[in-house]
Symmetry: none
Subunit: 202 residues, 4 copies
């Protein structure tokens, strides 16, 4: 029995559904997104989705976790312990700018889940937010260990870093700036953050 192949097939289909779901949910929001259309775009039958996900809500949550993992992976790469903190922050900013442009679907869905009103998903979104904060906190701890900064409240600072980075990118996008334009502001934003950290530690 080609058990492994089947398992791979199954996982591939799961991902295809989630990929399409991200696109549709980003385009229309949770309620307006249509399972039938989604199935059609994934090239499978309506009923098939229910063989992979219990219901629409669970599909949404699975997709949310899936893209959060992808984003976290991208963030981890950006925050690799190469170079100065300033450089790492710049890479983080550019990573977000890139996600917002290249993975705008998943970026939008993610933002919407975090800051959107749909309380049905707030619990899950908060968990994801904590994951993001944790990754950044890890970087700050490393920098502190290296003596680059002195930071009394790592968690709050990590949150500050995340929220500034994220929301700056988002606002810039809403106002119509291109990825290149946004990326160009990386040094300034990174510097802003660094000084902020320095300031708040006094």
């Amino acid at each position: 029995m080609p058990k492994i192949v089947d398992e791979q097939m199954r996982e591939a289909t799961r991902r295809r559904i989630m990929r399409v779901a991200a696109s549709e949910f980003a385009r229309l929001g949770f309620d307006q997104a249509n399972i039938n259309v989604l199935a059609e775009q994934a090239g499978i039958g309506k009923g098939t989705i229910y063989l992979y996900f219990e219901n629409k809500r669970e599909l949404f949550l699975a997709m949310l976790r899936f893209i959060a993992q992808e984003h976290l992976a991208a963030i981890r790469v950006a925050l690799a312990p190469d170079g100065t903190l300033q450089q790492r922050l710049e890479r983080l900013f550019r990573a977000f700018a890139h996600l917002a442009e290249e993975e705008s679907d998943s970026f939008n869905v993610s933002m919407s889940a975090l800051y959107g009103v749909n309380r049905a998903f707030q619990t899950e979104a908060t968990k994801l937010l904590r994951d993001y904060v944790a990754v950044i906190a890890l970087m700050l701890e490393q920098s502190q260990a290296r003596g680059e900064i002195r930071c009394p409240n790592i968690e709050a600072t990590a949150l500050m870093v995340l929220s500034l980075t994220e929301s700056y990118v988002l606002s810039a996008k809403v106002l119509g700036q291109s990825e290149a334009e946004i990326a160009r502001q990386a040094p300034a934003v990174a510097a802003l953050i660094l000084r902020g950290i320095a300031a708040s530690s006094r």
Copy 2:
């Protein structure tokens, strides 16, 4: 004819509906919010809502504009030209922290419209975002005229101020911090912003 009284009555009802609508839309999102429930909570008949608003969408937009005005008024008060720029930024931050706590419904709805995925309202939300940015830009211009700062790109800086303030409050709230806790961070955040402005102007 008690024309004036009637007009006041009508406006009062309009506002009651929008207030309830803000609550429901904040709790459930646009699609899940139910006009029947909304009417019930406003203490009026189902059909009555349609005497005040053309349809659900128009009600949402009217409510959005209404709370944006209220928030803008609060922001203008916070940014009154008293004290130093640092102090004005602190007041701005506290004003947002206060809105997020006391007017959490309208704050959530507003955030959701700005950053949520519901593209149906993106055009309107962008307009409102520009209003917020304009008010902050005005303050920056005043500060520049006074020689407090030197700021090559007022608009971009205003956006930075807004997005940092807003998203910091939002994230802190999502992570469970109280208004008092958040407000305590006002000086640090304001300082962060100020240094950021100084940094980016060099």
Copy 3:
């Protein structure tokens, strides 16, 4: 007390409502016609209609009887005992052609009530149909008394006269003929009927 004037006023308003009702019912049908619009067109308040008619249905029926009376009056004039039967039939045909053109609202409403599916009004419509038939039957009796025709079944013949005349005009109108074009066919149709009567009496 200006009782009489008031009574005249009241009757005038009643007629104005019915006139507007005929127009709206003809344009949209019973269900699609809107009482609010109707009131507006009649220049009175929504509630006022209910001071003159118990409800929408009763308004429709009253209007139906009212226009039937008008049409019957026109038919009686056309069938005045002047000239030959052929001439009277021609006048009848032209009267219908004229009604269909000049009073197309009431003509349509009338036809619709008679032949439309809305069984809610069929009883009343049947009564009116009998009135029409009776007027024509009277003419046939007069003609028979004068020896113009010999007609074993007056009622059936009257029905035949009415239905041919009416439906011919209606069909011609549906196919886009003008009143003048239709009226030109009066002699032919009258002759057709006359020969038909002669034929069926043998």
Copy 4:
């Protein structure tokens, strides 16, 4: 795949819906007819109707075309080139009398669409009216070719034949005559028409 069977099933359901629709629309008219009731009577779920027809209006139109086809078929049979023109006209009259009795639902709906006020369907109804006229015109042409009649305006004459036949049957029915009673008048009506044609051709 049982493609053919499925296709037959689908067509059967489509027809069952249209049959029930004819009944309900005939009983209540377009607006008063209720999709829920209709579905219940067809023994299917509410939503199922929308798998077969886009909306209520389209269902009505489809039904209208469907019964028009059936009636046209019956008319064509009646007008088969057997016997004299008088005989063919008698068969036409009896066919209508039969339809009015046996298929009273579809007959009523058809009449209502043709002569009712619901302008929403007037365009379609006019098309159908032209089809009826065309079939009769064909017969008249054949008769003319055979030298049975001389008819300068075939179309107008066909319309005359149709409207007399149709409306005579309809009126008789409204006045409560049975199919048998109506059918008995076939020779008289046919003769009437024939003489009419002869008269108008002179």
